[in-house]
Symmetry: C2
């Protein structure tokens, strides 16, 4: 019998308690041991919860109870979550979490403590919700040099972009409706401005490339600037606009990592990942390309990943999993402005200005052709160049939109 404690009885924490109870038989079978939720720690009261008898208010009870072997941190954020995780690990307990913010910012440090104490710090649920991705990268793709990883890492923004396409309604309107439906939070900043995706792509980059990438050090652009006109132009080109987190290996031991809306071809499988779903593409030098798809958030999908980690922690109580990465030095992550791609540009400048900047380009749409566009508007795709070069070339231009093309 292994006892666990859940910290935080919010969406994910309550989902973990429910799944643990509902699938108790198969979970015990898979762990080759019975697992019991001994405590659930929350400062709030839940008198009507079926788990009311397990609810306590004080983390000290958990950390000082030698019977508790695995601690599940579903508090979120970087304050109490950080302190409790550190103390639980120091006390020789394995910790399992869905907290991408904490893993992205303090993962290296917490994994070092786990290593020193010979326990596990596991975070499958921190990226892609219920989609298996951390373990596939660290255990299934180990024969590969991973060149690149990218994907749709945030369900809220993907839901909004998908509905902008299907409903033909502008960003602000769809966002409001998404908030009503529970697909976007009251304060949607972390999602729509790309910060959530940034944390996730940094965790993936940490694992794929072996050195830590600070989410605060990478270029992050959200979707609030994506207009219906952009979506219509993309459609005409055979593309959809999706918010991607992207990380890739560059020559000289450097990597690129950033979050930005991209035009992606409708012929790619990833462009068909719609609504709240997530899709993550990994490219390895032996495997080629593979993709992982599923629910990137939500109570039960996230609980599915957390509980898998609990089972793993129980099975590996006396054997630490091989997870971790090194600290990175300055210059490891190149400036996002120095990363090349093809670009989609929409401009109000005339043909003479476009010609001087880019030479002969194939215009996608002509002034006045698309009703939503201004009567004086041109759009086109550039050859591959860095953001810096693009900025230099468009110095004289009135740029209305500028997106990378995958």
């Amino acid at each position: 019998m292994v006892n666990i404690a859940i910290l935080g009885f919010g969406t994910v924490g309550s989902g973990v308690a429910e799944v643990m109870e509902e699938n108790a038989v198969s979970i015990s079978h898979n762990a080759a041991e019975d697992i019991r939720v001994k405590y659930i720690v929350d400062i709030r009261d839940f008198p009507d919860s079926p788990f009311a008898d397990k609810l306590i208010r004080d983390f000290e009870t958990v950390v000082s109870d030698p019977d508790v072997q695995v601690v599940v941190e579903t508090i979120g954020g970087r304050k109490a979550a950080y302190e409790y995780t550190k103390r639980a690990l120091e006390a020789g307990k394995s910790v399992v979490t869905s907290n991408k913010e904490l893993v992205a910012s303090r993962g290296h440090e917490l994994l070092e403590i786990a290593k020193r104490k010979n326990v596990n710090y596991l975070f499958e649920a921190s990226v892609g919700g219920g989609i298996p991705i951390i373990r596939p990268i660290t255990q299934c793709l180990t024969a590969n040099e991973i060149d690149e990883i990218y994907g749709i890492l945030n369900g809220t923004t993907n839901y909004i972009l998908t509905r902008m396409i299907t409903d033909g309604a502008p960003f602000g309107e769809i966002l409001k409706d998404a908030q009503k439906q529970g697909y976007a939070e009251a304060d949607p900043t972390a999602d729509i401005e790309g910060y959530d995706a940034a944390r996730k792509i940094c965790i993936l980059a940490d694992l794929c490339f072996g050195q830590s990438v600070d989410p605060e050090s990478i270029g992050v652009e959200g979707i609030s600037g994506v207009t219906l006109e952009d979506i219509e132009y993309a459609r005409r080109l055979g593309y959809k606009i999706k918010l991607l987190g992207r990380a890739r290996r560059l020559p000289g031991g450097h990597i690129a990592a950033y979050v930005a809306p991209h035009l992606i071809s409708k012929t790619s499988l990833l462009s068909n990942v719609d609504g709240v779903m997530n899709g993550i593409v990994v490219h390895g030098n032996a495997l080629g390309e593979c993709m992982f798809y599923g629910a990137g958030a939500g109570k039960r999908p996230t609980a599915s990943a957390v509980v898998a980690d609990i089972i793993d922690a129980v099975k590996h109580r006396r054997a630490r999993k091989y997870l971790g990465w090194e600290e990175s030095g300055p210059g490891y992550v190149v400036d996002t402005d120095d990363v090349s791609s093809r670009w989609f540009l929409r401009t109000g400048s005339g043909l003479d200005v476009i010609g001087r900047a880019f030479g002969n380009v194939r215009l996608i749409s002509y002034p006045g052709e698309y009703p939503g566009a201004g009567p004086d508007e041109y759009a086109f795709a550039t050859p591959e160049m860095t953001g810096r070069e693009l900025a230099a070339r468009t110095g004289e231009m009135e740029v209305r939109s500028r997106f990378r093309i995958l």
Copy 2:
């Protein structure tokens, strides 16, 4: 330093040797140990191979060498592969394989030997080529009761069906071209008649549902009966025809497992898995649906999965992985004719016959409307019913095609 031996220097075996050499540094890092290919066993000569110095002809050298700790079986088939695998396991060596035929037919027995000898028998490459699927099921979805698993499990048939759609050319013609291009074997029976997919869905069913399913006991239908007319009707309905392996949990502890061409909706992600690619969908009661996508065959993708297993076997030399399933009793797998689905039917019978058999159905296409169809042809989708019921209802009908709808 861990020494391994590769049995069979064909496509997969030589891919394994190449990837082991090419990615030696990262592989050693991931395994936390150096891994060396000590022997490659093949009865053929390869004097010009860069691995010529490792090539030997006799398995006895391998089995009697106490320095060899992991044996890689890439011979294929059920004869020598079976004997060598058994002897290697009995000798206390872990075995890694891509041999779906052997795992599907003898997996239970070989896993039992591995368990008894406290070594590992690993077969990630046996399903989905390089796509991580075995390990995700056994380690990442452990919190779930898995309800259903299905997918495009054979690249050759998916390539042929995709090209029938894009080229508008009939099965026989595309098959010949696929053989020329190396996408289909000289004797394509195992692929096009569905036997290869059957082995794979049985391995997946073994793992997901815990009891062995014999590929020879399940309903298997290939793609040689799929015509251009069927594909055109499917297109009009908003579907594509794909060969699926499918297994699902039924009430009363039974399961359904079979291989058959299905009509699948173009709005599903799986319908966009085209060409030689594979896609596998898993449905769990906590996670909901997730999908794994990638190259289901080929030298390097398959080697990617085999080498990941080698690394795993090296890391778990003294700790067996939890893989295995029970023998099943009679009646565990229900007769495929008793499994329900909606059906697509194409018939040369008149409206009176159709009406008597199915009542009011919405006809998809009317006689003579589609140039490829006969002038007297109707097609429609039925409500959900078993294959047995369908056969009874169509007793009087001239049935030209009959496919399940996913």
